[in-house]
Symmetry: C3
Subunit: 141 residues, 3 copies
């Protein structure tokens, strides 16, 4: 890398469904494997999934509810990591920063000590936009 800055991927994780969490984490996993930095900013339903014990309960949204059992079974057969396991694997790379959205925390009255210990920072929209403007890729999921 020398003195070059690593590329950044920022994903604003607004959704809390299983498919969207996998999308965010599979892309983050690919990013850190390519020596990029990954930044995950959790807001709304995504933020709610950062509460301890919550990510393990992630399912599909009501449109796809009938596919949920089949998908869960298939993922078990494949021994696919759960979203939380995947998040911890990416965190272990040292290249992932996790942000919890402060406006959402107020709206839903969620306190920092309710969140999983992998959360690095609490941040508002201005800080998120700063990161976004320096990122190679920014996605809202």
């Amino acid at each position: 890398m020398g003195d070059l800055e690593p590329k950044k991927l920022l994903i604003i994780v607004e959704s809390g469904t299983l498919d969207k969490l996998y999308c965010a984490f599979i892309m983050s996993s690919a990013a850190v494997a390519m020596d990029w930095e990954a930044h995950l900013y959790f807001t709304f339903w995504g933020l709610r999934m950062l509460r301890i014990g919550e990510m393990e309960k992630a399912g599909l949204d009501s449109t796809y509810k009938d596919l949920e059992d089949g998908l869960q079974k298939r993922l078990e057969e494949m021994k696919y990591p759960t979203p939380y396991q995947m998040l911890k694997q990416i965190k272990a790379s040292g290249r992932l920063t996790i942000y919890a959205c402060t406006p959402t925390m107020s709206m839903f009255n969620i306190k920092k000590d309710e969140l999983i210990p992998e959360v690095d920072k609490l941040a508002g929209a201005a800080q998120m936009l700063d990161i976004a403007s320096g990122s190679a890729v920014t996605l809202f999921i």
Copy 2:
């Protein structure tokens, strides 16, 4: 700013739910506070919310319907601005441009005079892509 162009945030607002409108508006609000330009391009369900009187009725999608009353009550307690109040506050900064998507207007047979007066321009996808390619951050919500 001198002769520097301000940074631009473009959000394509496809969704019409309360959470997504707040996401779009909270980010736009942060952007204008940082002296960025904010551009909101409303399409599909988002465009439908620009009809007069419609944004006031925004709710959550069917997956999260059971959380709707609790969230609305909490927002009232916090004296949080409604989405439309927030939109008008951002508009007052002079740094927000609001676009209504013309293909959506045809699809749903919506006329310009049905839309709130804050709409600045009617625009198609080509004009939107032009703005996107000059923006620091572009999100599809």
Copy 3:
């Protein structure tokens, strides 16, 4: 164009609903008309829509189900192309590349020969991020 590289639009199509497919395809159509390259990376519900015969059945998500018949009828009256017709029109420009997400294919046990012939490449998240980092506009739909 001379030796200038064309601008690129990359859309990660995660959704499989009618409104989101139209958004992706209308923007791609505008992009190729502006001499941009369009890249559509289909994942999850979007990928499932690439199976032969599937896109023709696209509907709205459960929140908007009651608007589905009216919208379909209106689109027929307008003689609006269906999503698949639109996709083939854009493909005919020679400027559209269609990718199918390999992790999704494993998760849902979907084989290449089940997909429409317009698919150009199977690709994982790393290849997608490479394209994203060279794109003028990247959206997650």
